[in-house]
Amino acid sequence: MTQTAFKQERVSAAGASVTLRGITRRFGNNSVLEGVDLDIKPGEFVAIVGKSGSGKSTLLRVIAGLDHDFGGALTIGGAGGVKTTARIMYQEPRLPPWASIIDNVAFGLGPTPSRQDALSKARNALEAVHLADRGPEWPDVLSGGQKQRVALARALVSRPDLLVLDEPLGALDALTRIGMQSLLENVWQEEGFTAILVTHDVTEALTLADRIVLIENGQIALDLDVPFPRPRRRGSVQFAALADELLSALLKSKSQTEEYVI
């Protein structure tokens, strides 16, 4: 899997740095984030894990700039001090069905790109996700995995410094998910953006991330470096050991809102 289309246009590969200081967020009486401190280096790939309802999406929406009602300080440093915009990828592809696939990708360039420019950029982005020849079709003819690839192309077409992903592969079948993971890793290596991935899949976190943080009780409970060289082999002993450690940390962690009552 190569991203020749993207490589040719590449000017400078650099991601944004992200600094969180004492981030808090509450919904009414429900305090979801209770002081999150986190430093993410430019170009780093960070995975966020935690129980359902632990506030992963909430944190991600704060970082992505979709939620402004939080406490604490959030700093996003663009490459070379330039102001950046984060791009977000959701669990659902969120492709407007009335726009063709290529127009859907062009959505990622905002409301006022020049038509010619937008189409050529969108075409390159589609090529990067191996859907080059599907541009004129309607999105609902695509499979779930293909739709998420279009959503990825849309997120990347503006060449963001920061990409946040909220369980983007959660709805895909196991095989498609593995393909998407390696696509994501490739694009990330080509583009050099900073990536923050929320996932409930420990293997996925270990396959993709430089660092894994665990959210518990509204705070960072565990911050783990993943030292394996890429591309990673799921089968190795060290991999399995780390997966075990992470899984037991996850299971021990008590989310504020218990999912079950005995």
Partner: protein, 280 residues
């Protein structure tokens, strides 16, 4: 390509009309027409054999002859033209106002709070109940017809525009906002296309109400138009003209409905229910 077309038509059979087109040309396509054809033949035969007095129901051939007569004298074209322009102007006036209210109430909570309750209250007035009052206000001039038709088409278009905008997928709106869309760009690229299927449903309802209102208004109080033509023919026992007027109303209604179907097929080509094949 064919594979896709097959899958699409196989998936949605509910809306037969648009997708069943090819089958109309096959022998099976004749079946729906057998019954109306039989009725027509029996009707003509019983009239010719003297079983059906012309004062009750004239033979199809007499209706055709009346059509020819009125066409040659120009009466038919004049009256049909008058009715059509009344229908169109009422639809344009009422539809534009309704669309504007639907937009502003769909997009702004403040606007909704200010006007929606009032509109819902007025909606309970059957528009034909207003005829006596409207005659007092406007006499039997064009204003009366314009008012009644506008009033009638207002509600279906208003309600469906409002509903269409309010039910646009909020996840898509959030997505578009995150990519910098706001204001008119957001409206044009996301909200309007998302609301369009509902808006067009409103338009189709409105067309039905438009013809009904116009027929009644022209029959009760008018000095031209198809309804007037039918009523004055009644005074002279010209049943052939009465039946002709009824048939032309049906025809115009059908034409209006087909026009909306064409609009739907053109503007909703992305929608699985309206799609014929891949986009070029």
């Amino acid at each position: 390509m064919t594979d896709l077309a097959l899958r699409v038509s196989g998936k949605r059979v509910g809306r037969g009309g648009a997708l069943a087109l090819p089958s109309r040309l096959s022998p099976k396509g004749i079946v729906p027409w057998l019954l109306p054809l039989t009725i027509l033949i029996v009707w003509q035969a019983s009239a010719s054999l003297g079983q059906l007095p012309a004062s009750i129901l004239p033979a199809p051939s007499e209706v055709l002859a009346a059509a020819w007569r009125l066409l040659r004298s120009g009466e038919l074209a004049t009256n049909a033209g008058v009715s059509f322009s009344r229908a169109a102007s009422g639809l344009i006036v009422g539809g534009t106002i309704a669309f504007s209210f639907g937009l502003s109430n769909g997009l702004s909570r403040l606007s909704e709070r200010a006007t929606d309750t009032t509109i819902q209250m007025v909606r309970n007035i059957p528009n034909l109940a207003l005829i006596p009052l409207v005659i007092l206000w406007f006499g039997i001039e064009e204003g009366a017809k314009l008012f009644l038709v506008s009033f009638g088409v207002f509600f279906p278009i208003y309600i469906n525009t409002f509903h269409g905008i309010r039910t646009v997928d909020p996840q898509l709106v959030e997505m578009a906002r995150s990519y910098g869309f706001s204001g008119f760009a957001l409206f044009r690229r996301v909200i309007l296309p998302g609301a369009l299927p509902s808006i067009l449903v409103g338009l189709r309802y409105a067309l039905g109400i438009m013809w009904l209102t116009l027929i009644v208004a022209e029959t009760i109080a008018a000095q031209s138009g198809l309804g007037y033509m039918a009523m004055s023919a009644r005074e002279f026992m010209q049943t052939d003209v009465v039946v002709l007027a009824i048939l032309i109303y049906a025809l115009l209604g059908k034409v209006a409905d087909s026009a909306v179907r064409v609009i739907e097929r053109l503007s909703l080509s992305w929608h699985p229910a309206y799609r014929k094949g891949r986009r070029a």
